[in-house]
Amino acid sequence: MAHQNVADPRAAGAVRGKRVARPRDSWIVRTFDNPAVLSFLFMLPAATLLLVFLTYPLGLGIWLGFTDTRIGRAGVFIGLENYQSLFRDSMFWLAVSNTVLYTVIATIGKFALGLWLALLLNNHLPAKALIRSIILVPWIVPTVLSALAFWWIYDPQFSIISWALVEMGLIDQYIDFLGTPNNARASLIAANIWRGIPFVAICLLAGLQTISPSLYEAAALDGATAWQRFRHVTLPMLMPILAVVMTFSILFTFTDFQLIYAITRGGPAGTTHLMATLAFQRAIPGGQLGEGAAIAVAMIPFLIFATLFSYFALARRKWQHGGSDD
């Protein structure tokens, strides 16, 4: 145990203030005042939990993907066999293409509509704070519970959407929202967009409010049209925050599980599985932990791509704030 009350010189160099030691301090107090010791102790709870329940399982998951582990039976190393069989598995490829399609369309939808909503909210409005807080509600309510509401809204016989469209004379037969693969995919994407709009809108609104009105006034004096002002002022100024929010959105849409599990459970006949729901299906009810882990691991390359994207977007933001000039 360190009995000194002067910090380790390397750590002390980083601390601006230095404590005046009192002669009657016990060794415990003095130890706790050493920034190096204290940092270590302070990091301990978070680091332990994250290493045991995040880093280790991440490694374990990659390992399980190379084994034939089943529920209730430890597996043996089988090399790339899981990946080889997935490569020949049409259901896996369907899940991959569903995941990509789901992510691309839902992200475009969320950002187009979220940006539109943010622009609407950026006007002078009565009860603006109230509207802003109401808009976030879909985002805070547990996904599964709002997904259940969508499941009921998409009911083949008692769908309120079908009823409304029939009443308006737009269709003459109830729509089977979840009965065919393409209808089911479109319905799931719609529900995902619905849930994503609030988050995107509120974050982009925060970005919009940092844009100085003088930029718009200058653009207007130069004769820029509304579209040109949006294209050459709003969009470039919004880019950094847009990039960050989009990274998160892509990451969480790509690995989405709840919405699909709640509304279609991958049906009809497995045609709406995403990689996450297929991994669950194979691993937990199916018992094939190794194969499920391999499907989950196959998501990692996409996630690394999204993370790098986020890293460079953040680096670019620092540059924009004048942090460094490279």
Binding site: L38, L44, F53, N122, H124, S133, A283
Partner: protein
């Protein structure tokens, strides 16, 4: 609000604003809130009204009834599920806040060697989604003998709560003037005294934000609760509503929607109390 600016707003005339702003905004509000309206209406309808679109307008309740809510509360384990979810969310939130306060303080204030790297690692940890971790975690939970125990959830939820809370609190600590701590140091206060008596009281708004976010995220969690818990009476609300109230091919939509509505209430109530914290820390975390 002084900080809110509206660009070229003053050029717009009223009828023009009606078409370009108020009409689309109303459409957004209606679409975003409709599922909750539909949930509420369904909850208080009788079965005969629920499945009869010919004699009753489905958008309105003609003879409100509490039968669905009664069935949910007295004929299912719903109260038990609420208790379990509440316990798991509260305990996981406190564990995460404790660990995050210490970690954020160490990274932001003690400036130890490698602190920047640790901060980056914590940010990266937030990007690891539960849908990649649940399979290896399920095998670990089984080996530790935690399968089918709420403890499995209490221990695994901090993996996504700690990165988020630490990140949020780091930003918050940064906004507290360091000079206050320096003065206390010179006056002979120990680091722990400073954290406890100076920094934490000033960081209360940040702690509230982190706490409500953590609570909401725990309440919302689904995949771990689905994979690690099997006994009916130990399930969390989101999982139980989906797996226990859906019986075969007959869906009791009234009770299902009642379950969804009641399960949304705790987070909605907390949210309504702290909505300003919520909005500002959400946007702050993204801008940070």
């Amino acid at each position: 609000m002084a900080e809110e600016r509206a660009g070229m707003d003053y050029l717009n005339t009223w009828p023009r604003k009606l078409v370009t702003v108020y009409a689309p905004l109303s459409a957004f509000l209606i679409i975003l809130l409709f599922p909750f309206y539909w949930m509420t209406v369904t909850t208080f309808k009788s079965n005969e009204e629920l499945y009869n679109f010919k004699d009753y307008n489905p958008l309105w309740i003609h003879s409100p009834t509490l039968d669905n809510v009664k069935r949910l509360l007295f004929e299912t384990d719903y109260p038990q599920w609420l208790m379990i979810t509440m316990t798991v969310a509260v305990v996981a939130t406190f564990i995460s806040l404790f660990a995050s306060v210490l970690a954020a303080y160490a990274i932001q204030r003690l400036r130890f060697r490698g602190g920047q790297t640790v901060g980056l690692m914590i940010y990266l940890a937030y990007l690891v989604p539960p849908s990649i971790l649940f399979i290896p975690l399920a095998t670990m939970v089984f080996q530790f003998g935690l399968y089918d125990s709420p403890l499995a959830l209490i221990l695994t939820y901090p993996t996504f709560l700690i990165p988020f809370c630490t990140w949020l609190l780091m930003g918050y600590f940064k906004s507290i003037p360091y000079e206050l701590e320096e003065c206390a140091l010179v006056d002979g206060a120990s680091r722990i005294q400073i954290l406890w008596k100076i920094t934490l009281p000033l960081a209360v708004p940040g702690l509230i934000s982190a706490g409500i976010f953590a609570f909401t995220l725990s309440w919302n969690e689904f995949i771990y609760a689905l994979a690690f818990i099997s006994s009916v009476e130990k399930k969390t609300v989101p999982v139980a509503v989906l797996t226990q109230l859906v019986e075969g091919d007959v869906y009791h939509w009234g009770s299902l929607m009642a379950g969804a509505l009641l399960g949304s209430l705790p987070v909605a109530v907390i949210y309504s109390f702290f909505v300003e914290h919520y909005v500002s820390s959400l946007t702050g975390a993204v801008k940070e």
